[in-house]
């Protein structure tokens, strides 16, 4: 049998998805399910003085209406994921009965016969608000004496942290050259094409709740619900449906709606379904990115970095869903460069906007933006080639494991496990045709055209702990069933984990099925986030499959009366050295070891119950890496950017299914391009969201995304037996930095600065006209 790992096996999922037979949450048959709709706060910061639900309750077709106060028993805090002892936390309640902290926060829920009627009823709810002053930016949040996002707070600060290595202050003081700048990266959303959804059914006979949830983390959701409902974990079954229409981070978080809907289903003894619509998604699904970086870099005359100091203002939004994003940011700033002295200061603060948490890239694009913009500035300052400055500072291939000197989000010392950064950057520049591109740039610049080249390199901590698990079982129909706790949102788990299991078992994929995301099928799990599943569930599947092979071989050898070493598999038959006359099918093996004969003793030497399981807990995060390069042309009159060429070099260690890895990287790139040029979840000064439809919030289409040349190198991770790393976010992370670098490079003759992502046409033109004189001079020359 050929090895499945490393093969571009076509996806098993595709057939049903291409024929309209996918089973997304809203497609599931839930007879008699009622529809839910949430009334959401229309104010960024307000107190509910009075709420009148009577007219809504009287509307024909309405079954029930609850305010937060009506569901007092479940108004318990939704815990932040990553904590810190100094974190000033404010309870995020499922549906707060008192003070509200962002536009979109749930205020009341209507349960009705149809979603149409439920929405009618929302219009009949009368809320009397006391409107409070709102905070709509980190600058406003940190302004002394400014308004407070939570009225009982002393300040808007969530946490102030500093990480450092070496003596940064001294190194900066004595550095021959110093440059500093302020950069801002804008808020954006996940925008999975399927919004969030939750449905639930209560079984009075067993006291059990079955919950269908589009979550990326069913076991995490069950754990939270178990605590809030004070129910045993076994009485709560959370199922992520077989098909979930994208995740990208926001669906990995846990929300008030996930608490309210099952509880209401239990109260009403009726199935209830809530499908978030896009309008709700814009104001209630968690977002990310908004950060301000004030970065200072000290370097010598050769462009060697001596010290980096970065002060980061991070917008937690209205509540702290965890410190995962800012702590990833702080650890990502150094990137692939040797930096002897580093100091990173985090100022995370509360605002009256949708809470923030991971969105594809998760804190990394911001860090890479700050660092890589500065690498270009260093080169500019010294009159050096920006690629050369990077090469001089890159960590070399023989320096792994490389200790950076600060701590990663998982609590371990920030250590890069493997990689070859110079080769990645070199390969990227070769494919761009870097030298030719520079020559072309010079030639066209003389003709008055604005061509720019942008480069960005990054590292990505991925494959985080604590663990992920898998079970492998020979079913009573003679098929091998692999069960994962992890839930997929389009990554192709049914295919990828069958490939891994196939290699572990030495049995053809055709006889292997994969099931995911159902807490009743496997007891423990964490979830799909932070590009972690291949590096955690992958090794678990491999190990459980290898264990199963031993069990199957032992059983077959025992029944065939031979040595286990003599057993081979052909199709679903275990045979004595390939002799099918002396063979057993998997079904026959299941009949003996699993089904058995009621009341009859097992044959001697047979172990009952062909099931194995494995949990893999990585020692620490693995580090994927990559480099992007772009060549763009900017129209200085309109501010339009045309991407002429784009190259991605990517290293996620060994790959299981190359085609699917390419898909992850290219999809991530499109998201990154959105962050680089288009997506802005803008709020006004009162905290009112300004982009709440796809007319105001632009997602890239096929017309905006250029053709990308993608290549891989493979530096296996020593941290897991597959040697794999994460691939889901690498396309996203350096794209804003790459585009911004290219645009500023294009505009260099005009002296225009790009200090903000996304870089939009209007801002480009404004940056140019900040220096009208320069434009006139260039034109005249």
């Amino acid at each position: 049998m050929t090895t499945m790992i490393g093969t571009s096996v076509p996806r098993r999922e595709d057939e049903r998805l291409l024929t309209g037979r996918g089973r997304y949450l809203d497609d599931l048959d839930l007879p008699d399910a009622l529809a839910a709709a949430f009334l959401r706060s229309s104010n960024a910061h307000a107190r509910i003085l009075q709420i009148d639900l009577s007219a809504a309750r009287e509307l024909p077709g309405v079954i029930a209406v609850f305010s937060g106060a009506d569901l007092a028993e479940i108004q318990k805090p939704l815990a932040p994921k990553v904590l810190h002892p100094q974190l000033k936390d404010f309870p995020r309640l499922p549906m707060p009965p008192g003070e509200l902290h962002y536009v979109g926060e749930p205020v009341a829920v209507v349960i009705a016969e149809t979603r149409y009627i439920a929405e009618d009823a929302l219009e009949l709810i009368d809320v009397d608000y006391e409107v409070l002053p709102a905070v709509a930016s980190t600058a406003a949040a940190l302004e002394p004496g400014g308004p407070l996002a939570h009225s009982d707070a002393e300040s808007n600060v969530a946490v102030l942290l500093t990480q450092s290595a070496g003596n940064t202050a001294e190194a900066l003081r004595t550095a021959p050259n110093r440059l500093s700048e302020e950069f801002f990266v804008m808020r954006g959303g996940g925008h999975s094409m399927e919004p969030r959804a939750v449905a639930a059914r209560y079984e009075p006979a067993t006291g059990q709740l079955t919950i269908w949830d589009t979550t990326q983390s069913p076991h995490y959701a069950r754990q939270q619900l178990s605590v809030i409902y004070e129910m045993a974990e076994d009485d709560i079954r959370v199922i992520a449906p077989p098909d979930v229409g994208g995740g990208f981070g926001p669906k990995a978080q846990f929300y008030g709606e996930e608490v309210v809907i099952p509880w209401v289903a239990k109260k009403l003894r009726r199935p209830v379904k809530w499908v978030e619509d896009r309008q709700e998604n814009f104001v209630s699904a968690m977002m990310e990115r908004s950060q301000t970086h004030r970065i200072e870099v000290g370097f010598d005359d050769d462009g060697m970095l001596l010290a980096v100091k970065d002060v980061i203002e991070h917008d937690q939004g209205a509540y702290c869903a965890g410190l995962q994003v800012p702590s990833i940011t702080t650890a990502t700033v150094p990137g692939p460069y040797r930096i002897p002295n580093i100091e990173i200061e985090l100022r995370a603060c509360y605002t009256n906007m949708v809470p923030t948490s991971s969105v594809r890239g998760a804190g990394r694009p911001q860090a890479v933006f700050a660092m890589e913009r500065m690498m270009d500035r260093v080169a500019e300052h010294l009159g050096l080639d920006p690629a050369e400055v990077r090469f001089r500072n890159l960590i070399q291939a023989d320096e792994f494991p490389y200790k950076v000197g600060i701590t990663f989000r998982d609590g371990s010392p920030l250590t890069y496990d493997s990689g070859d950064f110079p080769r990645l950057l070199e390969g990227t520049l070769d494919r761009l045709g870097y030298a030719e591109a520079r020559a072309e740039q010079a030639k066209l610049r003389a003709e008055g055209r604005y061509i720019g080249i942008g480069i960005a390199a990054y590292v990505e901590g991925c494959g985080l702990g604590p663990y992920e698990g898998a079970k492998v079982r020979l079913t009573n129909t003679g098929r091998v069933l692999v069960t994962l706790a992890a839930a997929g949102q389009g990554q192709g788990y049914e295919t990828v984990y069958a490939q891994i299991a196939s290699d572990g078992l030495g049995i053809d994929m055709d006889h292997i099925d994969v099931l995911t995301g159902d807490t009743s099928r496997i007891p423990f799990g964490q979830g799909t986030f932070a590009s972690r599943i291949t590096a955690t569930a992958g090794p678990a599947v491999l190990d459980a499959a290898q264990q199963m092979r031993v069990r199957l071989v032992d059983t077959a050898a025992n029944l065939l009366g031979c040595d286990p070493a003599e057993i081979t598999f052909t199709g679903d038959r275990a045979s004595l050295n390939g002799d099918l006359e002396k063979s057993l099918s998997l079904l026959e093996i299941a009949r003996v070891a699993n089904i058995g004969k009621h009341g009859i003793t097992l044959p001697v030497g047979i172990s009952a119950g062909l099931e194995t399981s494995s949990y893999f807990a990585p020692e620490r995060a693995a580090y994927a890496s990559g480099a992007h390069a772009a060549m763009v042309e900017v129209d200085p009159e309109t501010g339009g950017i045309e991407i002429l060429k784009y190259v991605i070099g990517h290293d996620c260690g060994n790959v299981i299914n190359p085609k699917l890895v390419d898909g992850q990287v290219l999809g991530g790139f499109a998201h990154g391009l959105g962050n680089a040029m288009y997506e802005e979840a803008a709020y006004d000064a009162e905290g009112q969201p300004q982009a709440t439809s796809y007319l105001d919030y632009s997602l890239v289409s096929a017309a905006e995304v250029p053709t990308v040349e993608l290549f891989h190198i493979h530096s296996p991770s020593p941290l897991n037996p597959l040697g794999v790393k994460g691939a889901g976010e690498g396309g996203t992370i350096p794209a804003p930095a790459t585009i911004a670098n290219a645009v500023e490079d294009a505009l260099r003759p005009l002296g225009a600065r790009v200090n903000r992502a996304p870089v939009t046409p209007a801002r480009i033109v404004e940056a140019i006209h900040g220096d009208e004189q320069a434009l006139a001079e260039v034109r005249g020359s």
Binding site: L18, T19, G20, R21, R278, G667, G668, A702
Partner: protein, 157 residues
Amino acid sequence: MPDVDTGHRITGTVNGAAYDEVVDDRMTLADFLREKLRLTGTHLGCEHGVCGACTVIVDGAASRSCLMLAVQADGTEIETVEVLAEDGELNRLQAAFKKNHALQCGFCTSGFLMSVTAAMREGAIRDEGHAREVLSGNICRCTGYTGLVKAVLEAGE
């Protein structure tokens, strides 16, 4: 539960099969297909006509089913993603999607298939630029469009 005192009887065909149903005035075509006919391959991604996940073909024209009322479909011929496979096999376009990894989560896929199907009936897909234009009325958040462009070029030549 129907709205008060209304309801329109509508007849027509979906994927060649005749239907005869009573719908509320305000029910959208998308909800009609999904809820009444249980053709759940048509998805709702934005309900304001931008994402394209709900695209179906109405009397030959690719249309957003979230921006049409069910009652407006009275007397029309509608095609949805469920009609594309031929004798249980993926058709040429679907097979090209699979081959080129033009889908990941699959939520937007039906809309893409219907948009491209309508475009291919208007003529061959000339080149990459044309393929991108044909695809530009639908949003995919997973793939970055590379596989979609390849699939359309392959199936549309």
